[in-house]
Every structure is written in C-alpha cells, then in structure tokens.
Symmetry: C2
Subunit: 364 residues, 2 copies
Amino acid sequence: MTTDRLDRVRRRLADLDVGALLVGPSADLRWLVGYQAMPLERLTMLVVPADGDPTLLVPTLERARAEASGAADLVRVETWEETDDPIGRVADRLADADATQGPLAVQDQLWTSFTLALQARLPGAEWRAGSTVTSPLRQVKDAGEVAALHAVGAAIDEVHAGVADLLRPGRTEAEVGTDIAAAIRATHDDVAFVIVASGPNGASPHHELSSRVIEDGDPVVVDIGGVLDGYCSDETRNYVLGSVDPEYQDLHDVLEEAQAAGVAAVRPGVTAASVDAAARAVIDDAGHGDQFIHRTGHGIGVDGHEEPWIVAGNDTELVAGMAFSVEPGIYVAGQHGARIEDIVVVTDDGVAAANHRPRGITVA
Amino acid sequence: MTTDRLDRVRRRLADLDVGALLVGPSADLRWLVGYQAMPLERLTMLVVPADGDPTLLVPTLERARAEASGAADLVRVETWEETDDPIGRVADRLADADATQGPLAVQDQLWTSFTLALQARLPGAEWRAGSTVTSPLRQVKDAGEVAALHAVGAAIDEVHAGVADLLRPGRTEAEVGTDIAAAIRATHDDVAFVIVASGPNGASPHHELSSRVIEDGDPVVVDIGGVLDGYCSDETRNYVLGSVDPEYQDLHDVLEEAQAAGVAAVRPGVTAASVDAAARAVIDDAGHGDQFIHRTGHGIGVDGHEEPWIVAGNDTELVAGMAFSVEPGIYVAGQHGARIEDIVVVTDDGVAAANHRPRGITVA
C-alpha cells in the first residue's frame, strides 16, 4: 500500500475544516493502512490529523501484529501499556497537531464507550461521523479494487454453481449451510455469512440457518458471501427442490424482471434512488409492492455493506467505480420468499456485473 | 428466558438515576432478551427505560428473526421501514417514558454513528457507557451460567486434547488452524478465534495464523475459543514439536508456577488486582517481568472479553459467580513465547477451574 489514501483523507479533512479523523478497528482502518485489527476493549486507534503526521496507537501486545500488517510503513506506530491511559494519548496526539479546535470525525463503527471517553476528555469539541470523511472516497473504487470485486464475484459464482448438489430433501438448512461455508472457505479467504432460507423461512430476508428439514417442492433462498484479498462477495439465487409451483414461478418471473430493470438503470449520472425506483416499479406494477420490504441494494467493497445505499431518497449521483448490490426481493409471510442479487460496478458508460450465474430458478 | 434480567437492569437504572439503557446488537442484547442480531447499518435497538415498558425496535426485514429469538415474549417488538427515521423513533420511546431528563446509558459496543445521531437528536441529554449499568450484573453469573461455562470449558478441553496430533513438522499454522476450527465447530455452536503461534510468532500475544511452516523443535502457543449455548470458552496451552529446549522449559516452569499462583489467589473478598499481582510476582521474581506485557486476565460469559478485568489498579472485589481467565504469558521477541490460560469461576469459598488439560508443555 501507499500513503495515497491517507493523503486523500487529509485533503478532505482540510476541505471540510475537520481537525482529524479517528479510526478504530474497521473497514476504514483496513482501507487506509491495511491493518486488520479485532474490535476489542483495548483501544486501537489511527489518528489522522488534517495537519501533521498520522499515528497508529496500539496496545503493546498487538505491536507485532500491527507491524506485520505493513501499517508501520505508512504511519508511526505507538504502543500503550496495560496501565496507561490510551484516550489521553489520543488527546495528546490531537493537541500536538492543533486538531482539537475544529470538529473531530470518528469512524462510524467505533465503540460508543471510546467515543464517550473521548468526549469526556475533550469537552469543547464537536463530533461527526467518520463516514462523512471516508465514504465519498471509499465508495468510488479504483481499477485494482474493481478487479478484486470481479475476482471475489467469480469466487462466489463458483460456490453457487455447487449449491444445487447440496440441496436434497431431508437435509436441514444448517447441514447445507455447513457445506456451503466449507465451499466458501475453499474459494475465499474467509466466510462472511451464509443464509439458507427454505420454505416459509424464505419470507424472512435476514434469516440465516435453522434446523428446518428441507422438503421436496420447497423453494430455498441462498444468499452467501465471503472475503477474498480484502474484498467482499454477496450473491443471492433461488432454488427449488423438485417441481416448481406455478405461483412461485410467476413471482420469480416478476422478480427477475425487476432485478434486470434495476441493473439496466445503472449508469454514471443517475441517482442511487433511481435504481431503487426502476426495480421497485416492476414489483409495484405486478401488485407485489408491499412484499418488497427492503431497499434495492447496498455498496460493497472492503466492507460487506457500505455506501452508496440504493434506496428511495438517496440523491447520490452514480459515478464510474461505484459498486453495489441490486437485490430486489418478494416475501410472502408464512409461505415463501425470493431474492435475486448481483454485485454490479458502474462503468464509464453503463454497468458491469460481478456475478454471472443464471438468474432464473435453479431446480435442485 | 424471563424478564428477571430486564427487571434487574431497570432497578439499577432507578438506583443510578439513569433515564434509560439503549442496547444495540451485542452481548448485552443476547443476555437481556436472547436476540442475536448482526451489528449492521440498520438500527436495532432495545430501549429499556427506568419507568415504562421496554421496546425492541428492529428493521422490518428483521422482524421474523427477532420474533423467532423469543425476544417478543419479553418485550414489545416494533419495526421501522427503510425510509423511516429510526433514531426519531428511539427518541419518541424515550419521551413516552419521560426518560430524556436523566442521563442515558448507551451499550458500550454500539456504533458511534448511532450515538452521534442520538446526541444530535437529544442535545440536552447526558450520556454514559452502558457497561456502568450492565457489567455489575453480568459479571456475577447465576448457577445456570456457571454450568454453561463449565460445559463450554469441557468442550474446549476436548479440542486441546486433539491438538498434539495436528502439529507436525512441515504443516503451516494456517493448516493446523483450519483443523482446529473444524474441531471447535464439532464441539461448539461457533468458532470464536484460533491462535496458532509457532516459533517466534509465539512472542506476539494476539498473533492469529500465518503461512509459517512449523518446524521440528518449535514451541507453539495454541489459544482457542468457541461458543456453546451462548457462552464462551478460551483456553491456552503450549506445545513443542520434538525435544524441548531447556531454556524454554525453564521459562515455562516459571509460567506454570505464575498461573497456579494467580488461580490460588482467587477467592471471594480479594480484589481483581490482587490476582494479577500474585501471578506477576512469580514472573517478576524470576526476572521476566518486562516480558509479561499484558494483564493477567479478563472476564468471560456471553462475551469473550468482559468485566472483571484482572489488571493492576482494578479494586473490584471478587464475589462468588465471577468468571475470568488467568493467563499470564512470557514473550521473548524474535525467539518464542508461552502463555497458560484457564477460565476460573469464583466459588463461595475459593475457585473452580473450567479447564482441566495438563498445564505443562505437551510434546507433539
């Protein structure tokens, strides 16, 4: 990695008149300095002042990990001992950089306990969410990031290609999920999540796994993701064991049309909301509007969910390099559900999908 | 589950003159209402006012998951739609309960972005860390929780019993780690973490896994944990491939004595700091004080790391039902390291270990 991203953050801090960005273990930290730290009760914090050098403060026992990550090539690494006051150390670094006058930006996912301690230490400061600094930068991917998203998209395609063989009547969602997790581990560096939602469980969009036995005729929503070289995959397809109920087929036909309409609406210059509207219009027109109970998509990159949100009211203009899911769903409580999801990347003149599995129902 | 824990929290809020406790996806949420939610950008929040009924606010798409968790038997579940303002809904519930006058407690791990949004909405409120409300309750386990910690302790003992067979010259830490993770999955509900730190990597306490090839003669620190029925395990043992270097044996003998001294110091009425001091004195006396670079332990329960912290300066008095690790370590940069860790539970008249594997070096 280079200091390019740190430099861009510092220029943005100056533009926004924000004194510093404070970053704990998070996708922001990985994106900025390549250090994957666990969010734990001991403070790890990258202090990036608008003026002055950035510092990564880590507990002594994590010094070796931090240095092995390569972060030490980009920023000064300082350690604190178990009986030190790390919040005081952060305040000192901010004072050194004259950064306590302007507002301070704190990475969105930082634990509230740390932010409250910082607020108590710096009672005069104003505070704002770190995403106001980093999201506009992170959401536009460079060529290397786009390539990484296509590579991890191909990896999850490969996992989906094997899912039909794992779905057999009599197996539980949990058993199928275990096999899918193994397939994700075989093609990615890490498993992010595994949703196997069979029969009526398909009507719960964030259902994960259960002991429900999958039966002949069940539709099964399979929404899975992993991490490869630091970038996330996320792809949903719908399977049916045995013969497809005509009512489910009709619903899925509407969904397939809606997903295609959402993707077709993607190009530079349109708003995020317009992509949501394009997918939603198809489902509304077919009379299923009240069964599409979530936004159409979310950005993706070093984090599984990040900006831009593909949702009504988001006037963010799409630009080449933005990457997000297009994943409309239709959920019929007590019966079944369906969702089709691809990751797409905005190109100079349109859109490129990172996932290429057939989007129709796969009969298992 | 019953509402007993919610009732105790509400009594404590009244005692502390705190208006309400706000809890996002976390161990606090699991402990209070049994709901395991993913920390994501959509707000999930349990609002527990000192007066008035608690409410669990969830995104509509997670309603089915929340209800399936059993939380709906304990608290009212409310949903918000994708284009609603969930922070406003939390503020409304606080106003309904006249809870905005006193200070508000926010669960420690809640994302800072939510807390900043709450602060902007309720500019007059005072804020404090939720652990000031929940930790004194959570850190003293009831009989069912103690039994769960012993059960998950036995499960991780079983995994350690198989580790020596996995350690062979020529295998990488990552390969061994994959096998250990499978063994944790076979004995637990979930894997929490896997540290396999061979040779010089053993000198980095939070080293996880690497592509380093383990060689004959290497010491290997294996620190592993999982989750079973909602409670966490965490146990560290040291292995050597082939013959043990006498210098490493001497260091390990000191460590074994220190760990035993720490455990022997545990009983009701002494301070957490005194347990740290007892273990540290042995290592200091042997001249390795500056190589023991972390506290002696951490509490454990529904979270892998929770109060009480076994560290200098913590005057918390131990009481029966507290559970924590006793895990001194000695780290020689560039050479090797060792750490011995058991989970122990304070009993009415002393201490009971939840782990029972031999504490000496295991030759693999």
